[in-house]
Symmetry: C2
Subunit: 114 residues, 2 copies
C-alpha cells in the first residue's frame, strides 16, 4: 500500500508522536508511555510514519530510537506554498480596500467580493 505524508499526519495520535520526538529521538516504549493505547498500537503508527519517511530509526543495542525527519515536513510546506500565495495576495487586496475606504464616507462602503 502506498501512503504519503498527508495520510501520515491525518491521525491525531501520529501528529502527537511527531510533536513528541521532534526535539529528541525516543524509543517506542518511551513514546507509548505518553499515550493510553497499547505499545503495539504505537508501534503500528511508528511503522506508518517510517513508511512515509516522516521518521527514521536508529538501532542502539536492543533499543530503537525514532526521530523526526524534518525535511519531510517541508514537503507539506511546499504543498502549502501555492495557497500561501493566495492568502497573501488576498490580504494585500484587503489592505488596498481598507485604504480606499478611508477616503470615502461610510455610506459608500461596499461589501468586498471576498
Amino acid at each position: 500500500m502506498k501512503r504519503d505524508v498527508f495520510q501520515a499526519i491525518a491521525d491525531p495520535t501520529r501528529r502527537a508522536i511527531i510533536a513528541l520526538i521532534a526535539m529528541q529521538a525516543m524509543t517506542p516504549n518511551a513514546i507509548a508511555e505518553h499515550f493510553d493505547t497499547s505499545r503495539q498500537a504505537v508501534s503500528k503508527h511508528l511503522r506508518i510514519l517510517a513508511e512515509c519517511e516522516v521518521i527514521s530509526q536508529e538501532q542502539r543495542g536492543r533499543e530503537i530510537y525514532y526521530q523526526l525527519e524534518v525535511d519531510k515536513m517541508r514537503e507539506i510546506d511546499e504543498w502549502l506554498e501555492q495557497y500561501r500565495r493566495i492568502w497573501e495576495t488576498r490580504y494585500e487586496q484587503l489592505d488596498e480596500v481598507l485604504e480606499v475606504m478611508k477616503m470615502r464616507k461610510p455610506a459608500e462602503m461596499q461589501k468586498p467580493a471576498r
Copy 2:
C-alpha cells in the same frame, strides 16, 4: 463525527478539488467533470471539505458554487510553524559546520549528526 483539516487534506481527490477551486469557485458538476468518479462521490468529498470548513458554498439559483476558504489552509501553516523553526535552525547549524570545515583539512571532516 468530528473531522479536522488534516483529515480533509488526507485524500488525494480532495487535495485535487482544493487545487481546482482555489482560484475560482465552481459547481459540483463542473468539479466532477475533472474526475473519473461519479458526481455523487465528488459531492461526498465536498460535504467533508465543507464540514471541515475548508470550503464554503454560495447558492446561486439552482447552482451551488464552492470556493476555497484559504484561511483554513493557514491553520495547517500554523501547525507547521513549530517544525519550520526546527528545520531553519538545523540549516543554520549546518551552515556553521560547513563554515568550520572550511578551515580544516578534508581528512578531519566529520559526518554531520544528520
